[in-house]
């Protein structure tokens, strides 16, 4: 065999290996993509119907009896198909506005979740006679699906037809504010100290190893820390945004320290040296040169840490935030719940009408994550400098 032949057969082998290697990559990509599509598809299929809510057009007549038993306000035929929430709130509504008494209204009211599920073709407990009556209402145009604003303007409820994510979304925002206030200043300060001031000795190396280690600790451990330190020792109110935010802030700290250090490290020493060369003090070098140049890297780490915290449930379970709290918080010390906790609570509910709420809330959470991660990529590309 000539040398040429040997070479060409070797080349063939090399190309083949190359191709196989590439195929592995394609297969891996395909598999992860298939998982993602299945997951999203499943969530969208289960959740899209949650965006709509059945309402019934009915007559409400307010008489003095209604204050005793609000059932009297509704037509007997329609009463069983109307959400309990519409009925139970009537007496307080009448007391609040005096001019409702002895009047009759025609109104669209929220239907019971069984009716809602029936209209959407999902499993329900209605009997055939119920279905016949509802079909008649539907034909007359008195039973319709509307856009479900309640899902965004209401808090948690045991009645699926009025349950919403408002309280959880506000709770998440409150918790995140505290998380940012705790983790960002502390994290950046730590990173600056370690990079610019600390001497390279065994102590700093110990701290470095520990910080890297802390970043990988299971999040529930931080929950236990939060319970012991913030709630039991510092007496921060249980279930409050403050307790949750402090816990997640501490959890986030290592991530921010690590990403900030990487960002500071990536700044070419020539810039620092030039600043020192013209007589700048250390403080000036840090504030005028290092920090501004490190901001894109710090921001990316910060946003990715934030996205992780938003989806966190385990540590918040320990500090009491997985709870029934229907009202949006108005202060940091008030009890509140968060979006992933709300998803968890709904997923354990026995009523099947909660399935679509769970899926829809998951979609909302995914949308927020996507938004945050896109923002992180955008910021990085926008401010990234080539040296």
């Amino acid at each position: 065999m000539s040398v040429k032949n040997i070479q060409s057969s070797r080349n063939k082998k090399r190309y083949f290996k190359e191709k196989v290697f590439k195929m592995y990559g394609v297969i891996a990509l395909f598999i992860s993509f298939a998982f993602l599509v299945t997951f999203f598809g499943n969530m969208i299929f289960k959740g899209y119907s949650g965006l709509r809510q059945a309402k019934i057009y009915t007559t409400i007549s307010i008489t003095p009896e209604v204050l005793e038993d609000p059932a009297y306000a509704f037509l007997e035929d329609d009463y069983y198909y109307i959400s309990r929430d519409e009925i139970r709130r009537l007496p307080l509504k009448i007391q609040d506005s005096k001019d409702m008494m002895n009047k009759t209204f025609n109104e669209w009211v929220i239907a019971d979740s069984e009716v809602d599920q029936y209209l959407k073709g999902r499993p329900n407990r209605l009997k055939n006679s119920d279905k016949k009556y509802l079909d008649k209402l539907k034909e007359e145009g008195k039973l319709k699906l509307f856009f479900n604003w309640n899902f965004f303007t209401n808090g948690d409820s045991n009645l699926p037809e009025i349950a919403g994510i408002k309280a959880a979304v506000f709770g998440t925002i409150y918790v995140m504010i505290i998380t940012i206030l705790v983790s960002v200043p502390l994290g950046i300060a730590t990173a600056i100290y370690l990079e610019e001031y600390a001497k390279d000795n065994w102590l700093t190396r110990m701290i470095e190893v520990n910080i890297n280690n802390l970043a990988a600790i299971p999040s529930i451990i931080y929950g236990l820390l939060g319970l012991a330190v913030f709630i039991n020792f510092l007496h921060v109110p249980r279930s409050s945004a403050l307790a949750g935010g402090l816990t997640l802030g501490i959890m986030n700290l290592p991530v921010i320290v690590i990403s900030s250090r990487a960002a500071i490290k990536s700044i070419p020493p020539s810039i620092k040296e030039a600043a020192y060369g013209v007589g700048a003090s250390k403080l000036q070098v840090i504030w005028h040169h290092i920090l501004p140049l490190a901001v894109p890297g710090i921001l990316t780490g910060f946003i990715i840490g934030l996205a992780r915290s938003i989806g966190e449930t385990a540590p918040l379970l320990v500090v009491g935030m997985v709870a029934y709290i229907p009202d949006a918080p108005t202060s940091f010390v008030q009890s509140t719940t968060v979006l992933p906790a709300q998803i968890y609570t709904w997923s354990t509910a026995s009523l099947r009408a909660f399935t679509e709420k769970t899926a829809l809330a998951i979609l909302v959470l995914l949308a927020v994550m996507l938004l945050l991660n896109t923002l992180a990529i955008w910021l990085r590309n926008k401010y990234e400098k080539q040296w």
Binding site: Y324, I325, R352
Partner: protein
């Protein structure tokens, strides 16, 4: 980077402000069992919607966790009410008494634990002994305890179908598991002399699969898997009756009537415990409990029945109300 300095200052001040002064509480705090949680939060919601009081916070911590938090003492940082899917233990009540907590017991109804399977599967007519032999770590063979060899139901009892034994049930952390062990395994093993007393060890060779705290997950598995049976609370069976059915245990079907009358053997009582010391201090506790024990909620046609509560018999409901009206404090002797 001035903003960064301001941010840091704000962070510190918020931290110290909040740590330094805890607000006076105007909201009822409830902790405890995840089984009682749906009922408790339902009443809390109704209470918030129909009165001017703030909606109570209901946390699902498990019965044991609830008693622990409740028993920490008296004061604003401790819960006012704890839910429990079992009666308070003597140890827990003793602790409450030592801490100066006056505990009022309120029984709200029953919860049945069912063995459910796919609606298309062959009916299962079991005794508690059959179930014990299916899931126990060790079973008696020829007068000796040996490692559980049973793989098919008909090996335990020839009248049962030849179907592989596969049980999805709650994990060790769950109150439902405690009750299952107590009401099925311990009750049945007492009568088998080889066990020499109560036995509640569950096999770990993959026949019994701990399926997580979320009963909906077990439901979903049973829908797909026709051989398997699952263990969970009655309310999940009721809600999924179009696709699941329950096994008959000791000749009794788990229906609301059979559970309420005590005929169905695998049922437990549900309670909540009120801290009497907090009455009059935290606004609304009395009104919340009044609403909870009302006929409108726990009655034979009450709202909680719709979400799976099995009501107490009428006479017992009246006794519960009378005890609450007298604010009867629970004593150690009452537990015996």
């Amino acid at each position: 980077m001035k903003s960064l300095k301001i941010l840091a200052l704000v962070a510190l001040s918020v931290f110290f402000m909040a740590a330094g002064n805890v607000l006076a509480r105007e909201q009822i705090r409830i902790v405890g069992s995840s089984t009682v949680y749906p009922f408790s939060s339902y009443v809390a919601e109704e209470f918030g919607a129909t009165t001017k009081f703030k909606t109570p916070v209901v946390e699902s911590t498990g019965s044991g966790g609830g008693h622990k938090l409740f028993g920490e003492g008296v004061g604003e940082n401790t819960p006012d009410i704890t839910n429990s899917s079992r009666r308070i233990k003597e140890k827990e009540l003793k602790n409450n008494i030592e801490k100066g907590i006056e505990t009022i017991e309120v029984k709200i109804g029953y919860d049945g634990i069912v063995l459910a399977q796919n609606k298309d599967s062959e009916d299962l007519d079991l005794t508690r002994k059959d179930i014990l032999l299916a899931v126990a770590e060790e079973v008696p063979v020829n007068g000796k305890l040996v490692k559980n060899p049973y793989k098919y139901w008909n090996e335990i009892n020839p009248s049962l179908p030849k179907r592989e034994i596969l049980v999805y049930g709650p994990p060790t952390s769950s109150g439902t598991r405690d009750s299952f062990e107590e009401l099925v395994m311990e009750e049945a093993s007492k009568k088998i002399k080889e066990y020499g007393g109560k036995y509640s060890k569950i096999r770990t060779d993959g026949v019994y699969v701990p399926a997580g705290e979320n009963d909906n997950l077990i439901v979903q598995r049973l829908v797909k898997d026709k051989t398997a049976v699952g263990i969970f609370g009655y309310s999940f069976l009721e809600e999924n009756s179009d696709r699941l059915k329950a096994a008959i245990i000791d000749n009794v079907e788990p229906t609301a009537e059979n559970i309420s009358s005590g005929k169905y053997p695998v049922a437990r009582s549900m309670f909540f415990y009120v801290k009497k010391n907090h009455l009059g201090k935290v606004p609304g506790i009395e009104e919340y409990v009044d609403l909870f024990v009302s006929e409108k909620m726990i009655g034979g046609r009450g709202a909680l029945k719709r979400i799976g509560l099995i009501p107490l018999p009428k006479s017992e409901r009246e006794k519960v109300r009378a005890d609450w009206q007298n604010r009867k404090v629970l004593k150690i002797e009452d537990l015996k």
